[in-house]
């Protein structure tokens, strides 16, 4: 056993302990378990939301992307991502609290007064989350086998990691995730800032010399090019991320656990600062481009570990591995928790409405190990197309944005038929584009580059919006009578 494995094992044990201990002194009813009884303050909210957003992608994906793409990787810290939630989360939270809503699908059901619409949203949500969980687990495999210098077989590692997570989610629910997230954030922060500053200094004598060497060896590598990863690509991708981020059922769900609206706003204000650590990830990726050239394809995701092993003794690699491991497991726990809640509350109960609350709470916990197991199976047998699936999943959840935003208006012009038609069209378009491996460039070979480079998610959401409004215009009458029932009654009684 080497020092690296020892450190990883201790960290996993500590995470497990924190996760289990979190339930102490609380009776775990469904809303305590799923949204923490809605009493999380600014600080713990911040940790929780950062906990989901800074996943293995940050660790392996972002450094790998910097290695492959160069400068355009700046899309990963677009500030726009937090301006959108600043405006939409408080009204969502207010409505959710008033109507005792626990999940995104409940929210749509209530707002559009339609169980089938809620069911559609639930299905889109779960379909999108599975690839996300699997991606975390694949990342976990890479991290543990790299950090243990190949001594721990990836399959065994994933089983152990997943068991720990499943148990603490089962026992502590969202409290377990929150406490493990604290440990994870501290470790990630230290590791990434340290690597990002140390590596360029170690190899090049500083950050600016590193960039100058890079610019001299690969001119233009640091800029958005005129074609391909161009400015219109960057802007449309930033929009996709900004609008889609909080449409993920787990992000949506986590924001409902906030104590008040103010905590949500403060949280959106602090998160951009947290993103600054992503800049340090770029430094790691860029240093690796120069020091460990010739990584191809999927191997680019190993950039961070390759360079860490090149520069440091095993115990530091162990700490890096431990941070990476938590970066995979914490988001996993949130995702499993949310998926289980949606499966029982929004899918099972929608089909069998006479399920009692006690049954529902039990059922949710039963779904926790089932979701874990399904994700494990996909991790082992799902092949390597996960990145494509994740991109697809991201564009899927994005399609929930238009009906959500319109539902926040005082007079919602969108009918449930319009909302469903738009979302279904959006999801079908995204699936078609992904499976046919089509881009705007293959569809419109003669269009100008700024159109060819557009992100598929944005194209699909535009069609979604048009169809949604068109269908709503025809089906609006029915909706209107339902909406106005209440005010009319009030006028009559007064």
């Amino acid at each position: 056993m080497n020092s690296s494995i020892l450190i990883i094992t201790i960290t996993l044990a500590l995470a497990f302990y924190l996760g289990i201990r979190a339930k102490k002194g609380r009776e775990m009813k469904l809303d305590q378990w799923a949204v923490g009884g809605r009493n999380f303050g600014s600080l713990i909210m911040f940790v929780l939301m950062a906990g989901e957003m800074f996943s293995t992608f940050v660790f392996l994906g972002a450094s790998g992307a910097a290695y492959r793409m160069g400068g355009p990787t700046i899309y990963i810290f677009c500030a726009l991502t937090y301006i959108v939630p600043f405006w939409i989360l408080p009204p969502i939270w207010r409505y959710a609290k008033k109507h005792n809503v626990l999940t995104q699908s409940d929210f749509f059901t209530k707002k559009y007064n339609s169980k089938s619409l809620g069911l559609l949203v639930a299905v889109i949500g779960v379909l999108s989350m599975i690839p996300y969980i699997v991606l975390q687990l694949k990342g976990f495999q890479i991290i543990v086998s790299e950090a243990s210098y190949g001594l721990i077989p990836p399959t065994v590692a994933v089983w152990i990691g997943m068991l720990c997570v499943t148990v603490f989610v089962y026992v502590s629910g969202i409290h377990g995730s929150a406490w493990t997230a604290v440990l994870k954030d501290i470790l990630i922060l230290i590791v990434i800032v340290f690597l990002g500053i140390y590596l360029p200094i170690h190899y090049f004598g500083g950050i600016q010399p590193m960039f100058e060497t890079l610019e001299a060896t690969k001119p233009g590598f640091l800029l958005l090019p005129d074609e391909g990863l161009s400015i219109s690509w960057y802007v449309s991708l930033c929009l996709t991320i900004a609008l889609g981020q909080y449409m993920w059922p787990h992000c949506f769900g986590a924001s409902l656990s906030s104590q008040n609206e103010s905590a949500l706003r403060k949280n959106s204000a602090i998160l951009p600062l947290y993103q600054i650590i992503l800049v340090f990830i770029l430094f790691i990726g860029f240093t690796a481009v120069l020091q460990i050239p010739n990584l191809q394809g999927g191997d680019t995701d190993l950039a961070l570990f390759k360079i860490a092993k090149d520069a440091f003794p095993p115990w530091i690699v162990g700490v890096v591995g431990a941070a990476g491991m938590l970066a995979a497991l914490v988001p996993c726990s949130m995702l499993i928790l949310t998926a289980a809640t949606i499966l029982s509350k929004n899918i099972y109960k929608a089909v069998k409405p006479d399920t009692s609350n006690e049954q529902l709470a039990k059922l949710t916990r039963i779904f926790v190990p089932i979701v874990s197991l399904v994700s494990l199976i996909f991790t082992f047998y799902g092949g390597n197309t996960m990145i494509a699936l994740l991109t697809m999943a991201y564009s899927f959840v994005l399609q929930l944005f238009p009906p959500l935003v319109f539902s926040l208006l005082q007079r919602n012009p969108v009918s449930k038929a319009g909302a469903s038609a738009g979302m279904i069209l959006g999801v079908v378009l995204v699936a078609y584009f992904t499976l046919a491996e089509a881009t705007m460039a293959t569809l419109f070979p003669n269009a100008p580059h700024f159109i060819q480079d557009l992100d598929i998610g944005i194209v699909a959401i535009t069609f979604n919006l048009i169809v949604m409004l068109a269908v709503s215009a025809f089906t609006r009458k029915n909706q209107q009578t339902i909406l106005e029932e209440e005010p009319v009654k009030r006028i009559i009684t007064s």
């Binding site: 677009c78 500030a79 937090y82 301006i83 960039f211 640091l222 800029l223 204000a269 998160l271 951009p272």
Partner: protein
């Protein structure tokens, strides 16, 4: 007022890309484009924080 603050944080960050898409000058050791997008993280954060304080005050007055 809040809306103005937010618009101020979005337009320069996105609208000016073609102008700031350059390596030189280096600022704090960062190529200009990377410095620019990092700077906006901090500025956005400040703008949003101010907005959230304004929002809180409004709520108290209610």
């Amino acid at each position: 007022m809040k809306k103005i603050i937010v618009l101020l944080s979005v337009i320069p960050a996105i609208g000016s890309l073609s102008v700031v898409n350059r390596v030189e000058p280096y600022i704090f050791g960062l190529p200009f484009i990377i410095f620019w997008s990092t700077a906006w993280l901090i500025l956005t954060s400040i703008c949003l924080y101010i907005s959230s304080v304004i929002c809180d005050r409004k709520e108290e007055n209610k």
